[in-house]
Symmetry: none
Subunit: 309 residues, 5 copies
């Protein structure tokens, strides 16, 4: 496919990456109904690992089937589908070549004891990604955790291997840690910091949460106030996070969190769009609705990112 000028510009930001990585970024950016716009919607399905199957799939039982998610990502014209090893193993042959996939290589789960440090297990690798034909690997870091430095070292090594083999890296940068308040996990200072760390670790695509206007760190609060950074609206906060991602030189997609009303989902997307973000990574709000509702929602999200809604 001839890539658009918009996509070419984005690819140009990845100036030291080899054509293998760029080709995979291009595949994701050119795929689906948002193909060529520089915007993306990614379907992530790792909640079965993170929260357990019932909490994840019982609201919409067809979603227990791994094929369901491949099919919805294809039918809705999304840019990519992300999942842990087992989910991809269960559908990668049937849907080979039909949708770019992201192998989520580490995962946590809600059976971990409360006293354990915030961490994740590495459950697959770059060779799995090649074998399964994935465009990228996905890796979660928990900036703020007492084991965050270990996680950074893990993803640095995997990212080096992946990039050499032409596979892109998506970092889920989710602040979580022993000293971080619940509000702090989505504080704007912490969210922007999370984006910055992912960029510095060499992420090609950065996934962060939408932030609140809370400021968690004392020194940061002073800096925000002194510099008069506008964090009053969601769009302003998205824009601030894009700045933290090398002044927009890295693709950033935003996750929406738990299932919520459709209008709230649309408002989030409009804020991402207006703030210059690259798009949404939207799991539970998709697969916990019926297929019809999910398709309608994704249809509307595409319209929003195209500036039509």
């Amino acid at each position: 496919m001839k890539s658009t000028r918009t996509v070419q510009k984005i690819l140009g930001y990845y100036e030291t990456d080899n054509p293998g990585v760029k080709g995979n970024l291009c595949r994701m950016l050119m795929h689906g109904r948002l193909g060529g716009t520089g915007k993306m919607i990614i379907l992530p399905v790792d909640q079965g690992f993170e929260h357990g199957p019932a909490r994840s799939f019982a609201p919409n039982p067809p979603a227990y089937d791994p094929h369901y998610h491949y099919q919805i990502a294809i039918d809705a014209g999304l840019n990519a589908y992300a999942a842990p090893l087992g989910m991809l193993e269960a559908g990668a042959d049937t849907f080979a070549g039909q949708i770019p996939t992201i192998l989520k290589v580490n995962s946590s789960n809600s059976l971990v004891p409360g006293a354990a440090p915030f961490s994740q297990a590495i459950t697959s690798g770059v060779d799995d990604a090649l074998r399964l034909g994935c465009a990228a690997i996905g890796f979660t870091i928990y900036p703020g955790s007492s084991v965050a430095l270990d996680m950074f070292e893990e993803i640095s090594a995997m990212r080096e291997e992946a990039a050499a083999k032409g596979v892109a890296t998506v970092i889920w940068s989710y602040p979580r840690g022993e000293d971080l308040s619940k509000a702090g996990e989505t504080a704007i200072d912490v969210g922007a910091y999370a984006a910055q760390i992912a960029a510095l670790l060499g992420a090609h695509i950065i996934k962060i949460k939408l932030s609140t206007d809370h400021l968690e760190q004392g020194e940061a609060k002073k800096a925000y106030e002194k510099a008069g950074i506008d964090v009053s609206t969601q769009a302003a906060r998205v824009r601030h996070c894009m700045d933290a991602a090398f002044a927009g030189r890295r693709i950033v997609v935003f996750s929406g969190g738990a299932a919520k009303g459709a209008d709230a989902v649309y408002d989030d997307a409009r804020a991402i769009r207006d703030g210059g973000g690259n798009g949404s990574i939207i799991g539970r709000n998709t697969f916990q609705r019926s297929r019809d509702d999910a398709m309608a929602m994704l249809d509307k999200l595409v319209d929003i990112y195209k500036g039509r809604a």
Copy 2:
């Protein structure tokens, strides 16, 4: 892209291949103007290595520039572009993600002394293919050469590595050897045998030459006569070669050889189509014409493969 039923059927033939290889086959089969039809036109540009630059590019000087070939393959909507390392290095970044590429990993040249056995040098590898974002590697074998067994061992090892990493393998199966007559190189018995050997070596895509009705080997001649195999027309010979490629379970593309009149090129394509072949791999007949002529010819070839001309 949603793959078509036709492409799904072809992918189904590669039943033991991993989703990485299938995805790359799918990319090639779904790309360009023949995308989804199960037919392919591939542009190969290794003649600068094989015959030298003047014999290859002087008839159409813009073709000295590696970007020229990328551009024509993209603009004409071909399925893939194949070339040796240096040619791809000189354009892979500019055209990343815009056209599936095949890294030709071995090459011969016409400066080799006459007394040397028929062979080729391996000039790049699977890791180069990953780094350059290639969908496949391409490898020439010379069945009939005194070093053919060595070449088979080389490609077997590279094919194993490539397939494990999700990269497809295209084998150029070109009979050539100390005991083979010039007519024998394109004899139908030898051509079908060449297709069979490539299939047995695990090729995902087989590239052979169009054959004549000459029968080279005595034992084969008897078998053809006894079985009453029809090799009287080009289409019949193509059909026979498809049989030799696991009864059509492997993709076979046919090369046209030296530049010739446009009508001859079209007749070849019609014979390939009518005999059930998968398409053309067409180099000199493309780039030794002016760009306008080449584009018109490729346009017509697309029409032929679509059954419209």
Copy 3:
């Protein structure tokens, strides 16, 4: 399946082999209509490589399709199916678990120039066998060739790797060489010698040709005459070859060569049975007949090995 006393006895001969290898031998010995009898019929299909597709498959065109051979081996209740990489790749998924398979890891072809030494190319490996779920690898040696020592070293290394990984080894021991007369290739002294070499190289199953009563080597002739070895009947020659295979401690199957009349095939099988051989490996006499004829022949062969015909 519970293995029979007969099979247990045979497995007992492989006393230093690990349970992985023994399990695979057991799978082959217990599979199909001869399962448990200690007798075997194996279908080998590597003639497309050795003689070319037309000479191999044109007499019975459905045989161009790799699935055809899997299906006949399953439907006829044979013990195993042997073929080169490409043939297995094209059916191993469809027929996974339905018939023990032997990956033929080296192959020759009849396009090789006459001046080249008698050799074969290694075209797959032990890891391919594991990946494809094969019970054994198969390897041809040419005792008598100027490169025979190299071939012995190759199979020794592959056999070591295979056995360590629980994969059995079948050696096709086919005398052929610069100093060997045509008659010598099937001479009884040479045939017995070939069986001995395969046994000494560690073959778990030995495949040799049926012999004539010709004696090729002068020193051997003297020894045969002095010891009064009976080589006057085919059964006697089979018995002599079993002696050469560690006094029957190794499984030996006999190949029938080119297609011939059904009665000749049955006579061969009776001789193998009466001489204490383990069975037949029968390719062209199977797939160059129509499926109905082949099924009838295989049915009768089963009866012969069961002592009923």
Copy 4:
């Protein structure tokens, strides 16, 4: 470039290093407006990692863009630019060959919980440095931390690999630890000790902070008093640190810490110059000012190091 006598003398101190390392030291010493003087100004931009993006870049928003820093280092004629992986990846191609770079291979961050030991994560390696064309790697150690010995082992291994491959090593030696008072982190006895440890670990360039006249360790205090070491002025303390760096046989650059008034920055530089230090490594005082102010300041610093201001 012909290196000056001053630079030759400095290179002579690295008497066991190979020409690769010396060449890279030479490149840094000969580059820019201080090239040839034996003095250096290095721009380090790792504060986005250490303190977060808003605290680092909000005071001068163009600094969010990685290109900004490359450009200022080049335009101001500095000797080198140091940054973590992501920052270099985002500009190394555009600015290839235009400014020596130092890959900061480990980093900490201020989201780490308070109870965690003082440490950093290794986020890139020597092969990254080669690939990105860096003259050196940079590594922070925290003498005083409970994990300092681990950090020493990490940098020792990386330094060995780097030096073998011709890449120089810069050690950021920053005292920090469970038993160290805040004042102790910049105490002169501790600072000189930090310089000594870096030299002993094989650093080619040592980066330490400017010290106060505080003496932290009891035994050290006695030694200083007994020997009558002058630590009353900044220049005297710089001279004392140079003594601790093998009597000046190792290059030492001094960091200025948080942004402060221009005059204070100039005074620091004069003290470094007068005390025989090799120069400044100056980050926030550069990029937290407007580009014009930063350029003016760097201009003046060059003059100071040249003895003109």
Copy 5:
């Protein structure tokens, strides 16, 4: 150093190379008196290996000393100095950082028996180049030799390793072989072919000889005549070779061969300049003259490449 627009354009041609390789190309292109012009003069001293010391150095005895060549390359402001391992070992420390160097990793010699195929010995490697601080490795191929395919495989492997580690590759492409006439070694068709092969093998800098208007290969002759390629003047032949080097996308330097009159050297340089070549690689014509004469000649060559003479 800020690279010029001309150099930036040339670096842009190396679009898939990492910043390490580009940085080293930039170092060579920006170094010396031709720095920034896109033109280069390189001093190669491998004739002691190729022809023996007396034939090489006796005409100017100070040239026996390795330091002599480093010094002249530096004093004359050349772009780079190329030599085998021993020559660089004997001076790399003294001159570290003062002149980009090229490690000539293979070499032939005139003691080789006449019946031996045209080849060279690999006498150093990429790690040596890193250790010695070299900007590039240099490798000779003999297109036309019966062992040319082996040489291509050797340089392909070394080039891959070098490029991954940020070291550029210079290929000396010198046609020589069993079937090549003496005149054919410098024939224009063969010379252009040699440039093409080096480019296809991934050379960053191509070194070929100046050609004559002789046409060696029959098929090529026809192509030249049909296309009406002008090879009547040296400048036209240089231009034709630049076309063969990916339409000028690769740097090509031309060697002058044996020592000859100064005017002939100047005429060569003017032809290289006028034909769009990148410069001269000039050994014997430098070091077989007295230092004063050599310096005067190099001075004039710089003027010629700057368009002033």
